[in-house]
Symmetry: C2
Subunit: 402 residues, 2 copies
Amino acid sequence: MTTQKATHQLTKQHNRDLVLMTIFNHDIISRADIARATNLTRTTVSDIVTVLLNEGLVKEVGFGSSQGGKSPILLSIAADSRFLVGLSLGKEKFIGAVVNLRGEIKDIVEFPVEDSNGEQALQLVYQILDQLIKKRKKSIAGIGVGTPGLINTREGIVLTSVNLDWQDLPLAQLIQKRYGLHVSILNDSQATAIGEYIYGGDHKEHKNMIVVNVKHGIGAGILINGRLFQGDGGGAGEIGHVVVEKNGALCRCGKHGCLETIASVSAVTQRVQTRVREGAKTSLPKNSHAITLDTIEAAFKSGDSLTRQVVLNAGHYLGISLANLIGTLNIQKIVLTGDMTRFGTEWFDAVQKAMHDAALTRMAQDTKLEIGTLDFKACVLGASALLTLDGYSLLFNQSSDS
Amino acid sequence: MTTQKATHQLTKQHNRDLVLMTIFNHDIISRADIARATNLTRTTVSDIVTVLLNEGLVKEVGFGSSQGGKSPILLSIAADSRFLVGLSLGKEKFIGAVVNLRGEIKDIVEFPVEDSNGEQALQLVYQILDQLIKKRKKSIAGIGVGTPGLINTREGIVLTSVNLDWQDLPLAQLIQKRYGLHVSILNDSQATAIGEYIYGGDHKEHKNMIVVNVKHGIGAGILINGRLFQGDGGGAGEIGHVVVEKNGALCRCGKHGCLETIASVSAVTQRVQTRVREGAKTSLPKNSHAITLDTIEAAFKSGDSLTRQVVLNAGHYLGISLANLIGTLNIQKIVLTGDMTRFGTEWFDAVQKAMHDAALTRMAQDTKLEIGTLDFKACVLGASALLTLDGYSLLFNQSSDS
């Protein structure tokens, strides 16, 4: 009996999630069209919609054109009925945002990260969340965190995050205890991939997509059949530590010649600094501290040959890695995000050329490479995108508490 | 009305597939346990089982222990009620097998492949199929073909297969026309991966698995959530053409330094031949024609230093590629198959060591590397494994014709 009851409860929740997801995936939709899309009976759909209307998650927004009988009432997600919090923990700053059910950012805060140890980084996370959650406590459905490093999403643990000096930190549990909200944590590149996929354009036409995030580190998020693929250990997409140069520069991971040591923002900055110290001809200042991504970008765009060489070489090696991804996964849509995209068309062309040269012709020519459209927002949006992933049930539980 | 009828038909077929799959996945099972496993009602299960019994696909094999009432009748797949044909089109030989529903090989034929052009290769395929199908025409449910090259499985087209000199060949359609049977074609490494996954051991405990097939060429088959992942263009797993050595040897794909030019059977053979011609010290004969995989294997096992060097170097580079796979997919089970596995423990250790050295420690230590157990059978079994993939409906349609 108990099992039957549990199964019944599960079916009920599943049907509710299905209806909610269907409404979410359409701007506006009638009850009859929901029934057609879900194969649920009209009665079941109507009952569920009534509950969703009472909870304020869904609203009636007008009438559709009549198919002979009464004009159908159109339904839509009540975008501001619940909010999600997304956090992006970058090397130089932490960004937090309150996002509504349509991915519209309602509040955003940004804190610079000084050289902080693990505990300070955690306090900074709390500080941001305190500030964001205070105002809307009652209507917040969950918190998502995108953080660099190797993450066990299922158990909510940061296994290692070199930048933040975190080791085996039960981050999800800590935040959950403090705020009493559902928390999910993700690798930042994986979160960025979700953000781009859901909110970044017409990506949803593609079942599979790879987002390669090129910042201080390099990571990828892989979407397979419309869902994030994390691998068995949560680390899928850790392409920054693929060795691309035998006996290359020492990487922070302890190996030599990793992609990150050539193609990342850190690598480009360090390489330019070193070359300047060695006396290379450049329009950049001689003082290493003055050589930052901003000044390198300016020099690059004004045609400085040193920065062009380093940046385009970075693009070249990134392209070779993309060719490897194409060979391994044959996913035909690849989106580039992160600070390196600031180098624009010329960098992009270097990446694309190397990708085409290094991949099997037939596989490369069917692959579409593009630059993401959301900038830093991709990560906070992806981290907050619980609703569109496994979060339907979350909204269910949330509403029954309130 | 038509749509409703179609939906009803689809549901019926889906339920039937579900019951068939459940029986297939258990050695023996009662109707009541099928109902529990599928969440279908007992009446629905009983009705479907009756049809399956009538069609001979399922049989009653005895009684289980009573749970208080009558002893339940136990059901099992009738392994020899239908047969599948699997083909493996290798560089040196084509192998064809008739396989029953439990993956037991009932007939096997093997034809050597002389240097044949595309048309000759196709005639050889027909010759094998003629011979295998003749005897059991009425009970054969379908044909699966594992062939090297880039394959569009959905449309049944061999896009390019250098070895066989095939370009845009509609192989599935040609075979289907000739024999009137359902045909699916797959890349040989992908077929091998399916074979190993289903019949090779306790792999089904793992949702995700990679099989790396190291023969004359190198390819991988990637299983995600228990299903073959082919990518958008069917070419997922084409890791043989990932560049691992800058300015390395010329590959048959036109690029330089591909994994295949170092780590494949062809590469090892050619490298040993070249070194012998150059006068390297070895126990091998000086005549290039006498230097084959067999003689190299014998020399390797008797401690010949030249062959040891070439073979272990091949293993080393394969290991680096596995590290890249681990970084990209974080799949924790990797199985090695193909002729290179004949070099045994020492080769395996070289692969594993390089893999550990090149991958992030935390990701490598959780990855289990092993050698496949099925040898050449993996490919024919995988090619024939329609039933356990999308073939349930196939058996349905098949039975309604007979």
